[in-house]
Amino acid sequence: MTPFIAFESVYARLLRSHIDTDQIIPARFLKTTSREGLGRHAFADWRYEEGGQLRPDFPLHHPSARGATVLLAGENFGCGSSREHAPWALLEMGFRAVIAPSFGDIFRQNALKNGLLPIAVDAGVHAALADAPPDATVGVDLGVIRLPDGQRAFYPIDPFWKACLAGGIDEIEYVLRQAEAIADFEQGAR
C-alpha cells in the first residue's frame, strides 16, 4: 500500500442512514474474480435507471460532487455483508475517505485495509459538513479533518492502523514476520 498523504477536496453528500453494502455494490456484480471494474457498478440501483441511463437526481451526480474524493454519508454506513467489493468499488469511483457518524464493523476494517479512510464524526461535525455550501471543501489527515470553516475536528483512529497507513505498511508482511510465535502457538496447547 502507498503511504497516506493528507489532502483536501470537495465532498459528495449521500445523507441516508444505514447505507448497506448491498446498496454500495449489489450482489449481482460480485461474480467477478478481480478487484477491478467495480467502480461503475457502485450504487448501481440508485445511480442508473432500469435501462442504464444515469439518474440526474442521484446526489452523487450533482455538479458540486464532481471531482469529490470524500463521501459524506449517514450513520451506520456500510452495514450488512462482509464484501470487500464495497471499498474496492468506492475507491475506483474516486473516493479516498468516507465521513459518517458511524460505520458497519466489517466495512470499517475492509476500508482501512485498502486505504479508504473511514472517518467517524460526532453529530455537530456531521451537521457542519452537511450544512456547508455545495462548493465547501474538507481537509483530511490521519486522525484529524479540517472543516469548511477552518476548524479542526479530531476523529478516532486506531494507532496501529494509523501507523500502517502513514507508513504504507503491508499487514500480511507484518504478521509473516511473527511466524515463529505462530509456530510456537501451534506447538503449544493444541
Binding site: D22, D45, S82, Q178
Partner: protein
C-alpha cells in the same frame, strides 16, 4: 483465583498468539471456511506474494452463492458465475484446500455444512469471508465474518489482527410459545435493540428460552447477530450441543471425543463475570414476527400494525417514510393480508431440516396459492437428501412449490433466482435491504412457518391459524 470471565473472554484468551501494548492482538484461527465469492482475490494475493496456504487442513471450501439451484446436470449458463466457480476449484487444487463441491454429497451453504459435518466445534475460532459466520457461535465457538484481505491473511498466516470486543448479554427468559420460532426471537431482539444495537460487542445468548432451543434453532439465532451490528453471537455449549455433534464426520471420536467433551464442558461464562451491556427479553411474550421495511429492525408482531412516520422519533421519520414507499406498504395498517407474490424458504438462517419440516407442516395437504411462486431450497445436499427421504420434498412438490438444489439462491439473488421488480416476497432469509433479492425486490423476513402460511394464503398470514 483468576478473574471471572465471559465465554468470549475465555475464547479470546485461549487463542492469543501475540499481545503487545498499543497493537491489535494476533489471534489464532482454528477453522477457515471459504466460498467462491470472497476468495478469488485472496488466492490471487497469495500467488502474487509467492505464498502457500499455511494450514490447508484447517481450511474448507464449498460453492454456494453463485451456483444455480435448478437441474445440476446442465452446464452453468451464467459465464461469469461459471468462471468464478471454476476459479475456486482451481485454487483449491493448487493450494491443497479440501472442497465440498456439487455432487460430493456434502455441498451446501457454508454455514450449513460446517456444523453438519462436525467441522464447527465448541471453543474454536471460526472465520469466513461472509458476515453470517456468526451462525457457528451456536456451538460456543467465536465465529465472525471477515473481508477478502483478511481471508488472504488467514490463508497465509492462520491468524488475524484483532482488537478485543465488548461483551453483551442477551437473556431470553421463559419459553417460546407454540408457533413462535427462533427466527421470531431474533427478529424481536433486533426490533428492540436496532440494527446497531450490537455494535462493538459480541452477543452471548442466555436464559431458559435459549437453553430450550435445539441446535438448528440456536444457529438461526446466532446467524442474525450481524443484523444487530454485533461482531459475533454465541451460546455456551451444553448437552444439546454435544448430542448434535456426536458421530458427525469431522467430530472427534473414541478417546478424542471424551477428551474434547471434558474441555468443552469448561466453556461457560463464569458466575460473576461482568458484561459491558445486557438486554433481557421475555420469551413468553414473543409473537411470530415479520419485517415491513428495508432493514431487519423494522419488524413487528404479525398481528400488529405498521408504524406511521408520526409514531417514530423525528430522526427516523424520513427513513421510515422512504422504507414504506419502497415497500409499497401503507402506514398505520395491519400487516396481515398484505399481498405476496413470492415465497422463499431456505438460506443459512432457515435452510436446515427442522426449517423444512416446519414449512412442510403448513403445506401438508394444502396447495400453494395460484398467484404465489414458492421456492424451497435446502441448505445443503445433506439436508436435501434427508428431506427427500422423509417425504418433505414430495409435500412441497404436491403443494405446488418448487423443490430446488442447495445453495444461497434467492437470499442474495446472484444465481438467477430472483424476486421480480416490484414483487413482494416473504423470505426466511436474513436481509430485507433494498434490492437484496433482485433489483426492485421487496422482502418481508419471517420464519418458515410464516412463509409457508403466506404461500398458501397469497398474503401475509398468521401461521398459528394453520396449526
Amino acid at each position: 483465583m483468576t478473574q471471572a470471565r465471559t465465554l468470549y473472554d475465555r475464547l479470546w484468551d485461549d487463542h492469543l498468539v501475540v499481545e503487545r501494548p498499543d497493537e491489535p492482538a494476533l489471534v489464532y484461527i482454528d477453522l477457515h471456511l471459504v466460498h467462491e465469492v470472497t476468495s478469488p482475490q485472496a488466492f490471487e494475493g497469495l500467488r502474487r506474494r509467492g505464498l502457500l496456504v499455511r494450514r490447508p487442513n484447517r481450511t474448507v471450501a464449498t460453492i454456494d452463492h453463485a451456483i444455480p439451484t435448478h437441474d445440476r446436470s446442465l452446464p452453468i449458463a451464467d459465464r461469469v458465475a461459471a468462471g468464478q466457480i471454476e476459479q475456486l476449484k482451481r485454487n483449491c487444487t493448487d493450494f491443497g484446500v479440501p472442497l465440498h463441491g456439487p455432487g460430493s454429497g456434502r455441498q451446501g451453504i457454508v454455514h450449513v455444512i460446517g456444523p453438519e459435518l462436525g467441522l464447527t466445534q465448541p471453543g474454536m475460532t471460526v472465520v469466513c469471508g461472509d458476515s453470517h459466520t456468526a451462525t457457528h457461535g451456536a456451538f460456543g465457538a467465536l465465529a465472525f465474518g471477515i473481508g477478502t484481505s483478511e481471508v488472504e491473511m488467514v490463508l497465509a498466516t492462520q491468524c488475524l489482527l484483532q482488537r478485543r470486543s465488548k461483551n453483551q448479554r442477551v437473556e431470553v427468559t421463559g419459553r417460546l410459545r407454540d408457533g413462535v420460532t427462533a427466527k421470531d426471537l431474533i427478529l424481536a431482539l433486533i426490533a428492540r435493540i436496532g440494527v446497531d444495537g450490537g455494535a462493538g460487542t459480541v452477543l452471548e445468548y442466555t436464559g431458559s428460552a435459549v437453553r430450550a432451543l435445539d441446535m438448528e434453532a440456536r444457529m438461526t439465532v446466532c446467524n442474525m447477530s450481524i443484523e444487530a451490528g454485533a461482531r459475533a453471537g454465541m451460546i455456551a455449549p451444553d448437552d444439546t450441543t454435544f448430542q448434535y455433534l456426536h458421530g458427525r464426520p469431522f467430530a472427534p471420536s473414541g478417546r478424542a471425543w471424551d477428551e474434547a467433551l471434558e474441555r468443552w464442558r469448561t466453556l461457560v461464562t463464569d458466575d460473576g463475570a461482568s458484561f459491558d451491556r445486557s438486554v433481557e427479553i421475555d420469551g413468553d411474550a414473543i409473537e411470530p414476527m415479520i419485517t415491513f421495511g428495508t432493514n431487519p429492525a423494522q419488524a413487528i408482531a404479525i398481528g400488529g400494525r405498521v408504524p406511521s412516520p408520526t409514531d417514530v422519533p423525528a430522526a427516523d421519520r424520513e427513513a421510515l417514510t422512504k422504507a414504506l414507499a419502497y415497500m409499497g406498504i401503507e402506514p398505520a395498517r395491519p400487516i396481515l393480508g398484505h399481498p405476496v407474490q413470492t415465497v422463499f424458504i431456505g438460506s443459512c438462517t432457515n435452510g436446515r431440516l427442522s426449517d423444512l419440516r416446519a414449512a412442510a407442516s403448513v403445506l401438508r395437504g394444502r396447495k400453494v396459492h395460484p398467484g404465489v411462486r414458492t421456492l424451497v431450497v435446502p441448505g445443503s445436499e445433506d439436508v436435501g437428501r434427508a428431506a427427500e427421504a422423509e417425504g418433505l420434498a414430495d409435500i412441497f412438490r404436491t403443494a405446488g412449490a418448487e423443490w430446488r438444489a442447495p445453495g444461497c439462491s434467492m437470499c442474495i439473488a446472484m444465481n438467477g433466482d430472483e424476486v421480480r421488480p416490484g414483487e413482494t416476497a416473504v423470505s426466511t432469509s436474513n436481509r430485507n435491504f433494498e434490492g437484496r433479492q433482485g433489483r426492485g425486490s421487496r422482502t418481508l423476513l419471517a420464519s418458515p412457518l410464516t412463509a409457508a402460511a403466506a404461500a398458501v394464503t397469497g398474503a401475509v398470514a398468521d401461521p398459528r391459524t394453520f396449526a
